[in-house]
Amino acid sequence: MIAYTPLLVLFPLAGFLFLGLAGPRLRNEKLIGIIGSGMVGLSFALALGILMQMLGSAPEERKAVVELFPWISSFTGTMGSFSVSVAYQIDQLSILMTLIVTGVGFLIHVYSIGYMHGDRGFWRFFSYLNLFIFAMLNLVLADNFLLMFLGWEGVGLCSYLLIGFWYEKKFTGDAAKKAFVVNRIGDFGFILAMLLIFVTFGSLRFDTVFAAASILSPGRTVMVWITLLLFLGATGKSAQIPLYVWLPDAMAGPTPVSALIHAATMVTAGVYMIARCSLLYALAPVSLEVVASVGAATAVFAATIGLVQNDIKKVLAYSTISQLGYMFLAMGVAAFGAGIFHLMTHAFFKALLFLGSGAVIHAMHEEQDIQKMGGLKKHLPVTYWTFVVGAVAIAGIPPFAGFFSKDEILWKAFSSDFGSWVLWLLGALGAVMTAFYMGRLVFLTFEGKERFGHDLHPHEAPKTMTVPLMILAVLSAVGGFLGVPKSLLGSNAIEHWLEPIFDPANHKLLITEHDIVWSEYVLMAVSVAIAAGGIYVAWVMYLKRTGMADRLAARFSRIHRVLLNKYYVDEIYDASVVNPIVTISDEYLWKGVDTTIIDGSINGSARGIGAIGSALRRIQTGVAQSYAVVFVGGIVLVVGWLLLQSH
């Protein structure tokens, strides 16, 4: 089975190529949908097969590298030889990521058949989605940094293409460009980190680099640089402070895209990358602190913005940023397993929430403002119930998936050697806000009075959309049981499964398993309480005493305005970075340097050569005798020169 690993990647590539080339002539949505989803489904089935084989073998035999072909191989230089292969690495972490990507991806593909029905670019949408799966699998399966970077850039490209999918509208194009440009800043960090890794370790292969890193001792400056630059890449791709600004705008794309790329898979690439490089981070504790601080700060910061947004997808977008913050918090306190666990559960419930919001938007005829919804419960029963499951899962109500993963992170943030009560407090603060805004979202959308026009008759989405919702709801409900902690008599299967990956890092950080202590139960109770409390407050504010929210907004109008305008971060970035660059480019670099100096010198040299040519062309008379005269004159000069030389 493992030998077939490249097929995992090649199925979606084949789908992309076929749909991209033959799509315009197919004219059959069903066929396009079946091919598009089928290719991802095949990958998922193959990944399941590989997982079965891995489960049947001993933990130390679960890792394999399948090399496809050498990609770059150069001769030995001063830095040593540089060679990179297109090779795929199967291990506990990458197979887990593959299952998430292909599994959730498959469901979202199926959902898209219904959601994108009737769209002019139906075939284009599916070919892009397939390309995305291809790139994402390259990212998670790569056995070296360069191939990972190829996938990293590939998912960025697909993100760009899909955000701007409805390119006729200007704002989607702007959002796509913003996503791309902001991601470039992070990619710049990734590239620099790769260069440093190559200079330090002489290779880009994970195995070689990690083998060399495992004998280093912590505290080398270069490791801090490498890890911080990698983290800069992660903040771009995974929308963390300060590069998160593209993700809310990315909601301009079709909702399945938001679910697949901007919630479940692509934005978690940064988390995966840090997990993959956990050993490098273990060598730079300073970077771990940075990661934890940024993650915690983002978790709270994005949640506060999410409190007041009225666009259903924007709320989910800020929620995604916030949840990604939790994952980075987990990475930062060296709870790598917990972070990956949360990545998985988040993929389930956030994909579910986005797809649910897509069904709502679909039913409301492209209306996204939750203030103009309400009472949809009876029109969209399936969507309602699945959405509620997703909401309670993210809020952290046991026994839904989010409870186990988030609680694990909060506990580690408190108890780990790298954690502190401050980090825990920030996490808890984020958790209560998460519960609140999710409650607000559910109550405003589905409960209460209908606030939309009577000419609108919302109806439930077709089967292709509701079935994926139900499957994801089941996963969101039970997904957490993969990681039930020991304190709750579970076995924490997922962290156990991932142990071989993170053992070197844990060993480096001298992390040992703690015994169960009473404080864990206390914190667990606290987090359940704040989740319930948040939902309760939302219930009070938006259902029981409906005027209360507006009164509060009026009372704290200044804060409310700041939150509504997202802390004016976009405006600050515009004023401090974007506009100066635009001004400098426009006024000086373009009109000054480019047109005057560069164009001037190029045009000038062309004109000069033209002038010389038109002067010289008079010499070319076409009369052979003139040429002969010059020829003889040349002889005279050469002979004369030789004569002068001989004296």
């Binding site: 005269v629 003889v632 002979v639 004369g640 004569l643």
Partner: protein, 170 residues
């Protein structure tokens, strides 16, 4: 003054005069006749160098064959009265003449300043190498291959000349 010197001076004077007249006459037929005279003077000079074979060939091939071809073409084209060919004096020509005169001065300077060391002509030896026998054995031994290749060259020239001079070039 020896007979040898007298013969050299006479032939050299005839050669130079006929060469000058060749390039200055307007009518090509007159030029051609002066060229023939020049060839005879050269043949005479070859004889003073005891190169009998070359002297004979010079008259046979050059003055006989090649010059007949020239005269034939001149008459065929009937160029005698062409007005456009009236040649005036122009700066270009003065410059060209100056250039070639400069070259002549350089060559003479080189010849006068460098001692060749071969002032003595050995008549016995010179007679020996100028015979048909001597040159023939040279051509058929050491220069056999170039000699045979010459026939290819001449064939090519014949074919080329016919092709070029045909009425329809295309």
């Amino acid at each position: 003054m020896t007979l040898e010197s007298i013969l050299f001076i006479v032939f050299a004077a005839v050669g130079l005069a006929s060469a000058l007249l060749l390039v200055t006459r307007r009518n090509p037929i007159i030029s051609a006749l002066y060229l023939i005279l020049n060839f005879f003077a050269l043949a005479g000079l070859y004889l003073t160098l005891h190169a009998q074979f070359i002297a004979v060939i010079q008259i046979l091939v050059y003055a006989g064959a090649i010059m007949v071809l020239f005269v034939f073409v001149i008459m065929l084209l009937n160029l005698r009265d062409e007005r456009s060919l009236r040649e005036g004096l122009s700066w270009k020509k003065v410059f060209a003449a100056g250039v070639s005169f400069g070259l002549l001065m350089e060559v003479i300077y080189i010849l006068m300043t460098s001692a060749s060391g071969m002032t003595e002509l050995l008549p016995a030896k010179a007679t020996e190498i100028g015979t048909v026998e001597a040159i023939g054995s040279r051509l058929f031994t050491r220069f056999l291959f170039p000699f045979e290749v010459t026939s290819v060259l001449l064939t090519a020239a014949i074919v080329g000349a016919i092709l070029l001079a045909k009425k329809k070039l295309d």
